[in-house]
């Protein structure tokens, strides 16, 4: 069972500059955890996609970063939470190429492929929470 270490930080995301900050913070953490280059890149890219989704569709929100560890591995969990319009059809939103914005529609489905665990909860009119974990 994974336990959350003491390290825990929440960043507010409302603009494109904040997306850059999420990438930099996530990068610093996974470098510190000793992730391989490819593992770092995948996690940071997923973080960038999900942070952008929040800015574009969720009206901004927060990202919480946590370091996880159990007896065998260390990992990082990022939780993206917004109080935007929510996603009516999650299955559709997860599909590659589906977009309501100006993007390529790769954000959700693409970022799921870049991490080990992916969880999404969304309620129309209340908001969306996406949580991802990548183990070292």
């Amino acid at each position: 069972m994974a336990v959350v270490e003491k390290r825990d930080e929440t960043l507010a995301i409302s603009s494109s500059d904040d997306i850059v900050r999420v990438r930099q913070t996530a990068r610093a953490w996974v470098v510190e955890l000793g992730f391989s280059m490819i593992s770092q890149t995948k996690l940071v890219t997923a973080a960038s996609e999900l942070a952008r989704n929040m800015v574009e569709f969720g009206g901004g929100g927060t990202v919480r970063l946590e370091i996880l560890s159990d007896s065998i591995h260390a990992g990082i969990r990022l939780t993206f939470e917004d109080h935007g319009p929510g996603i009516p059809d999650i299955e559709l939103a997860m599909k590659d190429g589906y977009t309501t914005g100006h993007g390529l529609g790769l954000g959700l489905g693409g970022s799921r492929r870049l991490v080990n665990e992916f969880q999404i909860d969304s309620q129309v009119g209340r908001g969306t929470r996406v949580s991802i974990i990548r183990w070292k």
Partner: protein
């Protein structure tokens, strides 16, 4: 305002993206580049992304847009220096950058641009590259 520099090298433009790009910077780059292509009549654009350790779908789209816009302005684009981890991540993300030419490094990119220019066509802007015989 912060800008990404665009260098002129002969008939090509060279852009080295070294900073973690936010949206305004990306949009400014598109504006600046299209303007410079017209100003200089550049025939090729070389974009060096070797310093980028993350290329997300936003940056991927930017590269695709630049290639498409340049093509409409009669200039070829070659993206060079992608880090291996970035390439692996882009594919998994589902972004294959179709329509964007790539080369391993600046030198190879230059060669690709030069070979895409047919000799003797520099003066004629009409039907370039299609004239045969």
């Amino acid at each position: 305002m912060e800008r990404i520099p665009i260098l002129k090298m002969g008939e090509f433009l060279l852009i080295t993206i070294q900073v973690d790009m936010h949206d305004r910077l990306a949009l400014a780059l598109q504006d600046d580049l299209t303007e410079r292509i017209i100003q200089t009549g550049a025939r090729g654009v070389l974009i060096d992304i070797s310093s980028l350790d993350v290329v997300d779908s936003f940056t991927g789209r930017l590269l695709g847009n630049i290639a498409a816009m340049s093509r409409l302005l009669d200039a070829e684009t070659v993206v060079v220096g992608m880090q291996p981890a970035v390439a692996m991540t882009l594919v998994e993300l589902g972004l294959s950058l179709e329509g964007v030419r790539t080369a391993l490094n600046v030198e190879k990119g230059m060669e690709a641009l030069k070979s895409s220019l047919e000799p003797g066509t520099k003066e004629s802007k009409n039907g370039r590259g299609r004239e045969k015989g």
